[in-house]
Subunit: 256 residues, 2 copies
């Protein structure tokens, strides 16, 4: 039995304006969302699609790449491209600047989340998660002793706590925003490393959070986290201007 090709027609003739690959992506997207192919079903090969639309494989690949980025399809080498079975939604927002005001704006959002994450972690963490949090804290010290900044380890420490909260939304949002704090954390850590008292203070604050989580004391964990983040913001504001500029300059190929 012959079945009329659902996506019919050469595409080159009508619309010449927009990008070719975009048109194809749009049509494929519509076809998928209209249920043309079921979830998890394999869609035609790139060659077949190219022939159907009368375009080259390159364009098909670009179009499918868009759909893949949009979370509508997944591709497996050697196997094919499939309609995603777990559709995703995306939050798009402007890339924050890296000046002090913008960083503090991000910190304002991060603080209540980290505090709540610590609170939840205290009452929900599994033994293995507690172990991972403790390891992350040790990793920070080791990185510092090795002469590194310890930024990655610092972020990993906070991520371990977020994971222990057993709520994927916290890790998602915090991961998302922490990407913009690399530089800011580097500044505070560099600043802290210049004063022995600051360094001890940070270690003590981390320790307090971990102790509260280990004890399962949700309120204490929340308070310890709140204290830590408030102090971190203070330490960031107190960082000398020239230090901010200097750390910024350390980034590979920053100024010209």
């Amino acid at each position: 039995m012959y079945k009329e090709p659902p996506l019919s027609g050469d595409i080159s003739s009508p619309s010449r304006g927009p990008q070719l690959s975009e048109q194809v992506a749009t049509r494929l997207s519509e076809a998928i969302q209209s249920g043309e192919w079921a979830r998890g079903e394999r869609l035609p090969t790139e060659a077949a699609l190219g022939q159907r639309f009368g375009i080259s494989r390159s364009v098909v690949r670009e179009a499918i790449s868009m759909l893949r980025n949009a979370g509508l399809v997944t591709s497996r080498r050697g196997s094919g491209s499939f309609v995603a079975d777990a559709p995703t939604v995306s939050l798009r927002l402007a890339l924050p600047d890296s000046d002090l005001a913008s960083v503090i704006e991000v910190l304002e959002l991060r603080r209540p989340l980290e505090v709540e994450a610590a609170r939840l972690a205290a009452s929900r963490r599994t033994p293995s998660q507690l172990r991972r949090i403790r390891n992350a804290m040790v990793d920070i010290d080791e990185a510092v002793e090795a002469g590194l900044s310890g930024v990655e380890q610092d972020l990993a420490f906070h991520r371990a706590i977020a994971e222990a909260a057993h709520n994927a939304h916290f890790t998602a949002v915090l991961d998302f925003y922490n990407r913009f704090l690399h530089h800011a954390i580097q500044v505070t850590r560099t600043n802290e490393s210049l004063r022995e008292t600051f360094m001890q203070q940070v270690v003590a604050e981390h320790q307090a959070i971990v102790d509260a989580i280990a004890a399962g004391d949700a309120e204490a964990a929340a308070q310890a986290a709140a204290r830590h983040l408030e102090h971190a913001e203070v330490r960031l504001r107190q960082a000398p201007e020239d230090l901010i500029a200097r750390v910024q300059a350390q980034r590979p190929g920053a100024p010209e």
Copy 2:
């Protein structure tokens, strides 16, 4: 004068696992987000990038295609690819289910954000923003008296508070997650409308938040918001199962 390429190193040698184009996209993305190239600046040609990474132009194109789709760069034929003037980053996550557990997971994240937003709004709201918050509260009552559910007005009320916090990240994240709460809020509001005492309770809670924000009392605003959200969760949990199902069925094209 020779300048060491900021993004150095052949990429093919170390990691063979993940997709090549994905690695390149990641490295370019990091470079952009770390300010490697300024906003609106042109990045190297595809050929140059290919040479720098030791890969073919196809892979560079795929990588740039990803960044373009992610809103980080824009490409102009004949001219080049540029860092987007208003670069955006996207947080992608799985579409939450609408069952009770998933809704409560979202609420867990929303609560600390709404509380902090109320706290900030109390100390930062402009007179016009206070007016808008009050109007939003009135709109809820009017919608209810008109026989509507008031879900939209309820969300608008919370959004007005978030806006008064003067931090775009709060509105962005809350807007994002509130999309998934339409149904849940409808359930609670429907449930509340069935009992006069619940209804009065909700109005009183809203009033307490607004009063604290109007008075500029940050702590009182935070506490009032926390109380409201805790009670809302309780009211959601107490909603009869059949009510949840009934409201769900009202959604356009819900069941098959």
